[in-house]
């Protein structure tokens, strides 16, 4: 029998502790142990990006991270994006541009887009498209998503000027 391990990490700024099987993924732990069900499992193999989270400042697929690897690490998920009831500009722009239909890919796209704008506040459309190439959406055809990201980037830049 495998031994469950005790893990301490920081998720969205809050210290968390959980017990996990060594085989469980970070996505499993977020959803099943911590009740953070915003991150989705699409493919489970790192192809679709629906489970995207930011781990110690790096955008990763949480389905390809073991939960035990999170020991002592910082994790940012979609649940940490809004400021209380105030939506993040990316979330607001996704609504305004209708950049979602079924919504399954949306949390991953928002987290990936946030990582992009953290690293590069003024991306070209081409840079945004390449950055988000690992986030699959089967509804929108991507164009509205890219418009929303570019619009949110513009708004965020104006705020910080």
């Amino acid at each position: 029998m495998s031994k469950r391990q005790h893990i301490s990490a920081v998720v969205n700024g809050d210290p968390v502790e959980f017990l996990t099987d060594p085989r469980a993924t970070l996505l499993d732990a977020l959803r099943d142990d911590l009740g953070l069900t915003g991150s989705k499992e699409g493919c489970g193999s790192g192809d679709c990006g629906a489970c995207s989270v930011i781990l110690d400042g790096r955008l990763v697929c949480s389905c390809l991270v073991l939960a035990v690897e999170a020991e002592g690490r910082r994790v940012e998920t979609i649940e940490g994006l809004a400021d209380g009831s105030k939506l993040h500009p990316l979330q607001q722009k996704f609504l305004e541009h209708a950049a979602l239909q079924c919504g399954f890919c949306t949390p991953g796209l928002l987290v990936a887009a946030k990582a992009l704008l953290d690293a590069n506040p003024n991306p070209t459309e081409s840079e945004a498209r390449y950055w988000l190439a690992g986030n699959l959406c089967r509804c929108t055809g991507y164009d509205k998503i890219i418009r929303a990201v570019m619009d949110a980037a513009a708004e965020l830049r104006q705020e910080t000027v």
């Binding site: 193999s45 955008l59 990763v60 390809l64 690897e69 390449y130 690992g134």
Partner: protein, 290 residues
């Protein structure tokens, strides 16, 4: 529940002992972008996972003895952020950065790509052309080996039980040197190489190629170091005749399979084309360093 167990040692020797004790199903974990997929699909039976990311030498890029030392678990995105590495080895960095998405780049390492032993591994041809070596740690101690000696067949390596790659070492760079890597995929992102070609060369003061190495991916069971292809351009200024010789010599060493991503004939033709184009890019970069 599974039988998998997990440890995260902080020294290479602890990791090697654990891998040896763990037996045939024990695996080192770097970025996990291949390992976790294999475990979850059932392709790899559950066993001991040894996370090497808490070993200080396994993470980061260090400039040592005129060359670069890259920790085995260093993610691709770290390579793209390292200005000096990109200056000295643009082909190595562009090969590694072609792998997967931004998310995959946040985790996937060159050593993992190497030890997964796919013939189409995008980071390997440029490393082979760079004459990079691996520092391997095992129960018997440490040894170094050329990158091209690690993969022996698709999915199989020459590493002995308990051994793992701790570092990849790029040699010192002579003046007027540069490299390039190109791959062919039928789309723009998120695909596996149909063919890959890495070229690394050095020019003399007159712009004549004084040293060259060419490596080809996805045209054989392992990455091919194409010695004759390199010889075809040494002594030239990469004129049309030299490029034609390079193309022919690159095609001559290909022994690809035909599969859904390309026929043997197509792959062989493309290998010649990519070798030529990568050589032109590397030559242009080497001229600019002068």
């Amino acid at each position: 529940m599974s039988e998998v167990d997990f440890i995260a040692p902080t020294s290479p020797e602890q990791a090697a002992r654990a891998l040896l004790a763990g037996g045939a199903t024990a695996r080192p974990l770097g970025g996990g972008t291949d390992l976790l997929v294999q475990l979850r699909s059932g392709r790899l039976p559950p066993g001991l996972i040894v996370d090497i990311k808490r070993i200080p030498e396994a993470i980061g890029i260090r400039q040592e003895a005129g060359g670069f030392v890259i920790g085995a678990a260093t993610p691709g995105i770290t390579l793209s952020e390292h200005a000096a590495l990109g200056q000295a080895w643009p082909g190595v960095v562009e090969g590694a950065n072609l792998i997967g998405s931004t998310q995959v780049q946040g985790r996937a390492s060159m050593a993992g790509n190497l030890c997964n032993a796919s013939p189409a591994a995008d980071s390997v041809p440029a490393l082979v052309a760079a004459r990079a070596t691996c520092l391997i740690v095992g129960p018997e101690g440490r040894r170094t080996a050329p990158v091209e000696s690690i993969a022996v067949a698709p999915g199989r390596t020459s590493l002995a039980p308990g051994e793992f790659v701790l570092e990849i070492l790029l040699p010192p760079r002579p003046a007027r040197s540069a490299d390039a890597y190109l791959r062919m995929i039928p789309r723009t992102e998120m695909d596996i190489a149909v063919v890959g070609a890495g070229v690394n060369l050095t020019l003399d003061a007159n712009g004549v190629i004084s040293d060259a190495h060419v490596a080809l991916g996805a045209v054989g069971p392992t990455v091919i170091l194409a010695t004759e292809a390199a010889a075809a351009i040494i002594g030239s200024k990469l004129d049309d005749e030299a490029l034609a010789r390079l193309d022919a010599a690159a095609r001559a060493v290909c022994r690809p399979i035909s599969d859904k991503r390309g026929t043997s004939e197509f792959r062989t033709k493309i290998a010649g084309v990519l070798a030529r184009r990568a050589a032109v890019i590397a030559y242009g970069r080497a001229e600019k360093t002068a």
